[in-house]
């Protein structure tokens, strides 16, 4: 894999840092007066999702990381691994471990389309679609006529996720949720 010097750093570039693949979020070139320049870089660790802030001397370099994203369909879980299939026509199947899927588990429904981050062809992260449709598994009984007040109540979805929903939502109904904010969007007519 090629290595990249600080002046090639740009947001979206995938590099290795401390053994983990990272995505460069922001790269700021700083040159104090006539002094030595440096780069203040924010990188997102693609395995943990944590954002690191590091300072590099200008001209320093980092190994590139063989990271790519693939559109895949979630198939099933076997208790240890979660299985996904590529939707590019190859039908290639890959298994992801718990660390890779953990963050998206609340939104993962079989046959849903997801984006899988592959590092050296191994899944390291799974991102659900921005909006998913999930069935309400449990919530307090609906209160008719209370819609105008805009009150909310917690509802447990089929995946186990808990989101706030309007009072008129009942068990068995399907709702649309924004996975980035875990917010209820609307009721989906079946």
């Amino acid at each position: 894999m090629a290595s990249y010097s600080t002046n090639e750093f740009k947001s979206g570039l995938k590099v290795m840092l401390e053994g983990d693949p990272c995505n460069i979020v922001e790269n700021e070139f700083v040159k104090p007066g006539k002094g030595q320049a440096f780069n203040r870089v924010r990188l997102k660790n693609l395995k943990t999702g944590r954002v690191w802030e590091r300072t590099f001397k200008s001209g320093e370099s980092l190994e590139g990381a063989d990271v790519m994203e693939a559109d895949m369909e979630y198939l099933y879980a076997d208790g240890e691994y979660w299985h996904f299939m590529k939707t590019d026509g190859s039908y290639e199947q890959l298994a992801a471990d718990k660390a890779a899927v953990e963050d998206s588990l609340p939104w993962l429904k079989e046959t849903d389309k997801v984006t899988v981050t592959l590092w050296d062809e191994v899944p390291i992260a799974v991102a659900p679609a921005n909006f998913v449709e999930l069935e309400v598994a449990d919530t307090d009984p609906g209160l008719k006529g209370d819609t105008a007040q805009g009150g909310t109540k917690p509802a447990t979805l089929s995946t186990g996720a808990v989101v706030k929903v309007p009072l008129f939502i009942n068990i068995g109904e399907v709702i649309r949720v924004d996975t980035r904010t875990a917010e209820y969007q609307n009721r989906v007519k079946q």
Partner: protein, 279 residues
């Protein structure tokens, strides 16, 4: 007037990366050498707007190619050049008013480098040592400095973190430390401080212009080039051969003050832009 932007010698300034064009020469980091060669032969006040190139400088405030306005006033002191700069900014502001752009107000702040250090950090920059300087800021501010870093590098790092962001209103900073003289004359102040006869203009927390009482002493220039190259060698940077064309005539340089102003950055400041790429 215009001068060639491709030159046989580069700049030995330690922290400038020259862009070399094959074996044909270097793209100028500023038109300074070429303009001084002209001044030495024809002692007339001159100006030009031209591109300047600095390798690896890419960021919100930096571009590898940018537009520079550089001018020299024969017989001027730095104080006279400050007034000259003020008049120029006033003129530009008046022109911009037609486009509903908030003009640069007056340069109403003038501080010596020492005053700013004493005001914000309670130390005298002309006598402070590296250990004390490093202790004034958080560790990541000096994290990029290695064992070859000079006092000047530490002063720059501390100044850019603790002082520069506060220079929001148009501010002139003068009497820089002697170790940051670059191509300016040095002088001893009445209080004993040895300083370089330079000033810079800051607007919105960024450096806009840089001015020198120009050094016209060939022997001293050779010493400064050599010192730059020693520092370059320590940091593993390419050695830059002395600019012989400049050295051949520099002793004939008339007394003059010169200034370089970044036009892209001035535009950023005038229009309140966050990114130089938006200029």
């Amino acid at each position: 007037m215009t001068t060639a932007t491709l030159r046989s010698a580069g700049s030995s300034e330690v922290h400038l990366e020259n862009i070399q064009v094959g074996r044909q020469g270097y793209l100028q980091t500023s038109p300074e050498y070429a303009m001084k060669c002209l001044l030495a032969k024809h002692p007339l006040s001159i100006f030009q707007i031209c591109p300047a190139y600095r390798g690896g400088e890419i960021g919100r405030r930096h571009q590898m190619e940018f537009q520079m306005l550089e001018w020299y006033r024969c017989g001027y002191s730095l104080a006279e050049l400050m007034s000259d700069l003020q008049a120029m900014l006033k003129h530009v502001s008046a022109q911009m008013a037609e486009y509903n752009i908030q003009p640069i107000i007056r340069i109403n702040e003038r501080y010596s480098y020492r005053e700013l250090f004493e005001k914000h950090l309670k130390v005298n920059p002309h006598s402070v040592d590296v250990t004390v300087l490093a202790g004034l800021v958080s560790p990541e501010i000096t994290a990029h400095l290695d064992e070859h870093a000079t006092l000047g590098d530490y002063l720059d790092a501390v100044f850019s973190d603790a002082i520069e962001p506060r220079l929001l209103a148009p501010t002139i900073v003068y009497d820089f430390p002697a170790c940051q003289a670059a191509l300016a004359e040095t002088k001893q102040l009445k209080n004993g401080d040895l300083v370089s006869d330079r000033f810079e203009l800051y607007v919105g927390g960024i450096e806009i212009a840089n001015a020198y009482q120009e050094l016209g002493d060939g022997q001293e220039l050779i010493r400064r080039f050599a010192s730059n190259n020693r520092q370059r060698q320590l940091s593993g940077k390419p050695i830059i051969e002395d600019d012989m064309e400049l050295l051949a005539v520099i002793d004939d340089l008339p007394k003059c003050a010169g200034i370089a102003l970044g036009i892209d950055r001035l535009t950023m400041a005038l229009r309140g832009l966050e990114d130089i790429a938006a200029v």
